[in-house]
């Protein structure tokens, strides 16, 4: 019998607009079930309602928003939507455990981990009473669980504060904490999204083992099909608040029935599949046609860009030369006993004119710092970077800064924060034109309109503020700003990591197109190995501030000499094993 049953669940918020209340449905008529001992992965892009669904099972949303829930959410046969506040409290933690995305945010920074673990021990759904005996039981349980999640040094771990642990350790503690009261159901909301791939692989393996051993039913929310493929027994795909498809993992991955699922699978970059000629993207219009029945269900809903064959001549693009560059943060001083950090250590690198160079590494590998030095936002501690007639040395940028800025531009990671919230799109794009080019007045407006069109934004966007745009549109604005002054080199620092896969395809296509049409060199920084291997001409792997390896994607993927690269490849959640290597999922 299934442990968790959602029957025709509709969840929404009431909005107070102009005096009268309006209802906005976030999830429509959702029906799904989870069996004890199984993991159901709920996969969807942002705004698909997956997190809303998960949070309303534990009924956490009612604390943050005026929500309403219709339909039935049954946990072991009891409809939790009808429980009183007191009864519900006995369910949270004790019967339904929850693991959140940001472990550091979910742990109390002012309390030792041990105390927090003990607090979570509620064997009968109520805080444990009975003094010393219950405390002993709780402590024994906490120690056993910590050992189980791989933190064997239990006494020391329990005395630590959350900030003294790494992200992976924090997430392990969170898993142990969720298991403290032996819940029947475990809900995990993107628990590995904030982690590096190697840590993610460890946590996923651990999660799977723990779930099998405790025979908990598990709802695992993720946006990453690769992660779902690793961990799920069954997969549910959500799109715009509706359940699109639910089925066994193999069925979904190898023979998806719904066109959206198929499209989503196709959009995920895979090892061994080159996307240098363009990424597939989901066409909204075609998807609508298929779902409304005006087109056959087997019609593809993805479009794949085909770039023009002849690339633009690289012309006057100079090569970028990075020569033994080191960046050290902090100085050894007598006042603050902090040792200096070597963010980048003796990195040498050449990027040929018009080349698309992918730089991959985990957090703290120094890849962003290197990018910022190439863009002359930081000066190296030693070494030098040469681009054409410009040199960046420890003394700073030599020559005219504006001339350099005309040549080299940077696309930032988070389009939310890289656009001034008070400036309109047109003003944002005009900024580099005003500063770096002599264009003024009508010519300037014409160039801005041209750029808006070139990056595929609707013309009406010009007067909008960033808050009125979607994530993908914001990143397009950011790219338009970067190409405005016709640079020869673009440093793209994780430009797609804040975006959904289908939108990622669009943004990557745009970058590829710009490269073809303008002959721009790219230094593309990312943590996504599948993405960079499918798109770059050459790939460099950074680890601990050092560039440990460079090579073509093929060399890196098949014959890497370096241990770390191989570990990275092994940890990378990839769909290639399930899906035929030639574009479409095998049927």
């Amino acid at each position: 019998m299934s442990l968790l049953n959602l029957t025709d669940v509709t969840i929404g918020v009431t909005q107070d607009t102009a005096g009268h209340e309006e209802r906005l449905d976030l999830v429509h008529g959702l029906t799904l079930d989870v069996v004890a001992g199984q993991t159901l992965c709920v996969v969807g892009e942002s705004g698909s309602g997956k997190t809303v669904t998960a949070l309303s099972v534990v009924r956490l949303l009612e604390f943050v928003a005026p929500v309403y829930t219709e339909g039935e959410i049954a946990v072991g046969g009891v409809d939790v939507t009808r429980l009183g506040a007191e009864q519900m409290r006995a369910y949270r933690g004790a019967r339904i455990g929850m693991i959140f995305q940001e472990a550091l945010d979910s742990l109390n920074p002012a309390q030792r981990v041990g105390a927090q673990l003990l607090e979570a021990y509620r064997p009968d759904g109520v805080p444990a009473r009975g003094g010393l005996k219950a405390r002993r039981a709780a402590e024994a349980k906490a120690k056993a669980l910590l050992a189980e999640v791989g933190l064997t040094d239990t006494a020391r771990i329990m005395a630590l504060y959350p900030h003294q642990m790494s992200g992976g350790m924090q997430q392990r503690v969170m898993i142990a904490m969720a298991l403290m009261s032996d819940p029947d159901i475990l809900i995990a909301d993107e628990p590995t999204t904030a982690l590096d791939v190697t840590t993610q692989a460890e946590i996923l393996a651990l999660f799977q083992r723990v779930q099998r051993e405790h025979r908990t039913a598990c709802v695992f929310i993720t946006h990453d099909m690769g992660v779902a493929a690793e961990i799920a027994d069954r997969i549910a795909v959500m799109y715009r608040g509706r359940l699109v498809e639910i089925g066994d993992k193999l069925d979904i991955l190898t023979a998806p029935r719904h066109p959206y699922t198929r499209a989503l699978l196709e959009c995920v970059p895979r090892l061994g599949v080159s996307r240098r000629e363009g990424f597939p993207t989901i066409s909204e219009a075609r998807l609508r046609a298929v779902t409304e029945g005006t087109a056959g269900r087997d019609e593809p809903v993805t479009e794949t860009l085909r770039l023009p064959d002849a690339p633009a001549p690289v012309g006057d693009t100079p090569p970028l030369g990075i020569d033994r560059v080191t960046k050290v943060y902090g100085r050894r001083s007598r006042l603050a006993r902090r040792s200096p950090v070597r963010a980048v250590n003796e990195v040498s690198l050449e990027i040929a004119p018009g080349e698309f160079f992918g730089l991959v590494g985990e957090s703290g590998s120094g890849k962003t710092t290197l990018g910022r030095m190439v863009a002359a936002l930081e000066t190296p501690t030693s070494g030098r970077i040469a681009f054409g007639e410009h040199q960046i040395t420890p003394a700073g940028l030599s020559g005219d800064e504006r001339a350099f800025r005309r040549q080299a531009q940077l696309v930032f990671q988070d389009p939310q924060s890289s656009l001034d919230p008070r400036h309109t799109v047109a003003r944002i794009i005009a900024e580099p034109l005003r500063e770096l080019t002599p264009l003024r007045g009508g010519e300037l407006d014409r160039r801005v309109a041209e750029l808006i069109d070139e990056v595929g934004l609707p013309a009406g966007c010009a007067d909008r503020l960033p808050a009125q745009l979607s994530g993908g549109q914001r990143q397009r604005v950011s790219i338009a700003r970067a190409v405005a002054a016709r640079p020869r080199l673009i440093v793209a620092d994780e430009p797609t990591s804040a975006l959904d896969v289908s939108v990622q395809g669009q943004v990557m296509n745009l970058l590829l197109q710009l490269r073809r049409s303008h002959g721009i060199s790219f230094l593309f920084i990312t943590h996504n190995l599948s993405l960079v291997l499918s798109v770059a001409d050459r790939v460099g792997v950074m680890y601990g501030g050092e560039l440990i390896e460079t090579g073509t994607p093929h060399e890196i993927a098949t014959s890497s000499a370096h241990d770390y690269t191989r570990r990275l490849l092994a940890a990378n959640p990839d769909l290639s094993a399930y899906i035929g290597r030639h574009g479409h999922p095998s049927r």
Binding site: V64, F412, E435
Partner: protein, 303 residues
């Protein structure tokens, strides 16, 4: 009172302005603003229609409130209502002036020291030392050193309030400066000084406005205290502070002498604080979210 109150709030027509919209949505804010505007209007318009604030009349001294003298008379037989109104002119006017000056200097210092790290290290240590000195004593020392006059008080209080404003503005500038659009502006080739004006200032301004309103409330209080101590504007020019000072000898016989200006100061400070905190709700999304959450919790408990 109601018609005036409504007139002073832009009701329609300028719906596009965010301030007007905020006023319409937030009843507390609009009511407090209306009342304050009413007080300011009264203080500005009324004096010509009232008896001279400095006309003494020893025969009718210490009269209780009556139809002739709305709020009674003081120890020299001067009409308390006239003095209250013209004292309001000086008190409100001076506080406003102090606020503007302190806000301006604080803003400049805050912007510069938040944005240029080298300046920050020096300026903020000076501000720290400044703030650790007892406020009123600093003001008194300045007033004694320079002689009590309106200008001394202006300088003293500006000096006093500058570090507080500078600190608040600086912390906001620091958070704005860490946003990526500042880096993007640098990549666009913008000079730091221009970035400060084009990107940082507009994003700091809403919070600065809130800070200014709250600052003006403290300016009123300190100004009242200064005149009470005789460091501010010298009698016979009335201020609310020196009215309380003069009335305190007659606390028992004529309590209205200190109750009336005291209430006036209290009302203005309260209104300014109310306006400040409701403006913060409008400007700061985090404060608004917190407020909404509290309301939600209250509603949940009521059900």
């Amino acid at each position: 009172m109601t018609p005036t109150a409504q007139m002073s709030v832009p009701v329609s027509g300028r719906a596009a302005s965010p301030l007007a919209r905020a006023l319409r949505r937030n009843r507390l804010l609009s009511a407090a603003t209306a009342l304050l505007v009413l007080i300011v209007l009264a203080v500005v318009i009324l004096p010509p229609f009232l008896p001279d604030a400095n006309a003494t009349d020893p025969v009718h001294r210490l009269l209780p409130p009556s139809a002739d003298h709305l709020l009674g008379t003081d120890s020299y037989g001067r009409d308390v209502f006239s003095r209250l109104v013209s004292g309001g002119r000086t008190s409100l006017g001076l506080s406003a002036l102090i606020t503007v000056c302190a806000a301006f200097t604080g803003m400049v210092i805050g912007l510069v020291s938040g944005f240029y790290r080298a300046v920050d290290a020096v300026v903020m240590r000076i501000m720290d030392a400044w703030m650790s000195f007892p406020a009123i004593i600093l003001a008194m020392a300045l007033a004694i050193g320079l002689g009590a006059s309106i200008w001394t008080e202006l300088i003293a209080l500006t000096v006093l309030f500058t570090p507080f404003t500078a600190r608040v503005i600086r912390s906001r500038v620091l958070s704005v400066a860490a946003r990526q659009y500042i880096g993007a502006a640098r990549v666009s080739g913008m000079r730091p000084a221009k970035i400060l004006v084009v990107h940082v200032l507009p994003n700091v301004l809403p919070l600065a406005l809130v800070q200014v309103v709250i600052l003006s409330a403290s300016a009123m209080l300190v100004d009242g205290a200064m005149s009470f101590l005789g460091m501010g504007i010298a009698p016979p020019t009335p201020t609310w502070g020196n009215m309380i000072a003069e009335g305190r000898s007659y606390l028992v016989q004529a309590p209205w002498l200190i109750v009336v200006p005291g209430l006036a100061i209290m009302a203005c400070v309260l209104l300014l604080n109310l306006i400040g905190s409701s403006m913060r709700d409008v400007v700061d999304p985090r404060a608004r979210a917190l407020g909404d959450l509290q309301r939600l919790r209250a509603r949940g408990a009521a059900r």
